[in-house]
Symmetry: C2
Subunit: 385 residues, 2 copies
């Protein structure tokens, strides 16, 4: 089909696991394979992997006094944060932004069906939340405010510190939950400095393994567990811990901490090169990703006159792998809720592609995309006209 090795520009959906993370997984599958709850040395060694990774998570998000609860991924972490907190406290009012990931939106909707009062926090055309508006809507009975740090479709970063400070000034009992799954690889996170109550991360978005994530919790924050059993993770999440995955998460986090400051500008430069190249070659392409204060690796663009999915498969035939938006099924049925939230027109929404870069992406890969894309768009415009 194509003489090229595939160019993978879908890193927001999932990343290739790093060699170091894969080695850590392998070691704990084959050699250090104990159950952390076992009393013998093989169990104790596994338990120490959990504690070492907890410290690593604490360091990564600057949460030295926080609890770290390991989960099967970002989705479970977000579910535990919302549903676990909502059922543990008496308050019934929820504030959730309109551009949250489905793993926040859907638990919020489930809570609304169970009788909670769910209000959506609007965003502007850049997908940005107005901190003052959120704060104004906090009530005495507001249980939770949920805001994603960096959006997974268009990349917008939110003013988390201002939101958290304002919310807590107004109601110190309101829990501020931040989904940092997409931003962890690229942005400095400051759980304690920002004054957060809970924060979700995921392994497979940061070159770690799939099947592992964590919920970081302010000391003394009370949650109802969602999974009952042997009482692992301080009773908050039962089930034998995914020790190999957790060891892989630690290895991936260490690489993030070591390389983030050099990888971020490198990836951002590639993203900007792609964006400018597209703007030159497809002048009427419409960029959803804001010009500033965004994640460095994401670019969401509408190509008027073509169907995103058709363009995706056209690029795929050229060995270029992208997505039309979030990898999740649920949102795609009715079109992206993120693009809707920023006021994109239905035709623009249908014409959108998301490019997501990693530190493994090369300049020549970006050049290849820029060589193929304009012709593909022109060709499809003729076909679809």
């Amino acid at each position: 089909m194509t003489p090229h090795t595939p160019i993978y520009l879908d890193n927001a959906a999932t990343t290739r696991c790093s060699a170091a993370a894969a080695r850590a997984v392998e070691h704990h599958l084959r050699t250090a394979y104990g159950n952390p709850s076992s009393a013998h040395p093989l169990g104790a060694a596994a338990a120490e992997v959990l504690e070492a990774t907890r410290r690593c998570v604490q360091t990564s998000v600057q949460a030295r006094r926080a609890r770290v609860v390991f989960t099967s991924g970002g989705t479970e972490a977000n579910n535990l944060a919302l549903m676990g907190a909502a059922s543990a406290h008496g308050r019934r009012h929820l504030l959730v932004s309109t551009i949250e990931h489905d793993s926040v939106r859907q638990p919020a909707e489930a809570l609304a069906r169970a009788g909670f009062e769910l209000e959506w926090i609007r965003v502007d055309r850049d997908g940005r939340i107005d901190a003052a508006e959120v704060v104004e809507r906090v009530r005495p009975d507001t249980a939770l405010v949920c805001v994603q740090h960096g959006n997974n479709e268009i990349g917008t970063l939110q003013p988390i510190a201002a939101i958290a400070r304002g919310v807590h000034d107004r109601n110190r009992r309101t829990i501020v939950h931040v989904d940092a799954v997409q931003s962890l690889a690229w942005e400095r996170l400051d759980f304690e400095g920002w004054g957060l109550d809970s924060l979700s991360i995921s392994g497979h978005k940061i070159q770690g393994p799939k099947g592992v994530g964590a919920l970081v919790l302010r000391e003394n924050l009370v949650l109802e567990p969602r999974v009952h059993g042997g009482g692992q993770e301080g009773g908050l999440r039962s089930g034998t811990e995914n020790v190999p995955g957790i060891a892989g998460l630690a290895a991936a986090l260490e690489e993030v901490l070591t390389h983030r400051s050099t990888r971020r500008p490198q990836v951002e430069a590639l993203r900007d090169r792609l964006a400018h190249g597209i703007a030159e070659r497809v002048p009427d392409a419409h960029r959803h990703t804001p010009a500033s204060d965004t994640l460095p690796h994401l670019l969401s663009i509408a190509f008027p006159g073509v169907t995103g999915e058709v363009l995706l498969h056209h690029l795929e035939a050229e060995g270029i792998y992208v997505s039309t938006g979030s990898a999740c099924h649920a949102s795609s049925a009715g079109g992206s809720h993120v693009l809707k939230a920023i006021g994109a027109s239905p035709p623009d929404t249908r014409s959108t592609l998301r490019f997501s870069i990693s530190h493994e992406t090369r300049v020549d890969e970006i050049e290849r995309v820029l060589a193929v894309l304009p012709e593909a768009v022109a060709e499809l415009r003729l076909l679809e006209a």
Copy 2:
């Protein structure tokens, strides 16, 4: 400390991952790393891994028409089976055996706190359930009957077919859930032949990876999801699937299917050699594991006059790793609920060790345990007297 490589006899807690399963995990971390929800070929390949593993699970448990929902492990599968089924149907009565794993007992208790009527199914001194007694207690409003196939502490197998048939004859709407986590590696499972509604399995108990399990569901059985989000797994369990873990599960299942019939008698012979050797050398040792109809790899024995935990650490110093019971914390606080259910005395409970063998266990390892154990028991009896 010891000149010997550790002798690992805690395979009921967790197993060493097989080389084939570890290779499958590695391949999907580093090479075939797509997100199954992505539309490009790397995503499609990952989605195909899910479907191939589903077929593999169906074959392994003889459930050709059943749904297979991947979870993070046996605990999550049991939680989904109980809490998902209980909230999806109007019936309020639950029948759960007293020797279930905590991942069944604790969700059952959580449902009881939420207003369900929970009744416990008793077992005899062998830990065996009387099928007729269960059937007799089924009522028109019985939502669920939960029975573990093979017990994880003492190894007792239950008459699953008789229970399921009887329950359904009396109330065809009652869901029969079976926890087969501990038995999958050793016993033939016949989901459809037995007429089950749901069944849980786990990767790391069968030489597969930690962090993956599955719930097998009768076609058309309605459950409420416990994790909300992108709608993966037919809407029953959101979150990016643990593709490497799922690929590892498939590899482990294939080995189980290929080797079970030869490994089972081999492991059982080692268990019996250990049991008879202990009976000869420590004549007053009291065996909890029944003489027949048990899992082949488990041996639970009380050594009167010694504390199980002290004996465990004594053996550990000799490089022999065993457990005092289940690896789970919760149950150990008040002593094993399984030993209590079979009427073991508190001193017997405190004196109990669980040995659990794998196909990797060698005869000379069993001989070494038999050489060390009697002296250790004698020595500790003097110390503890």
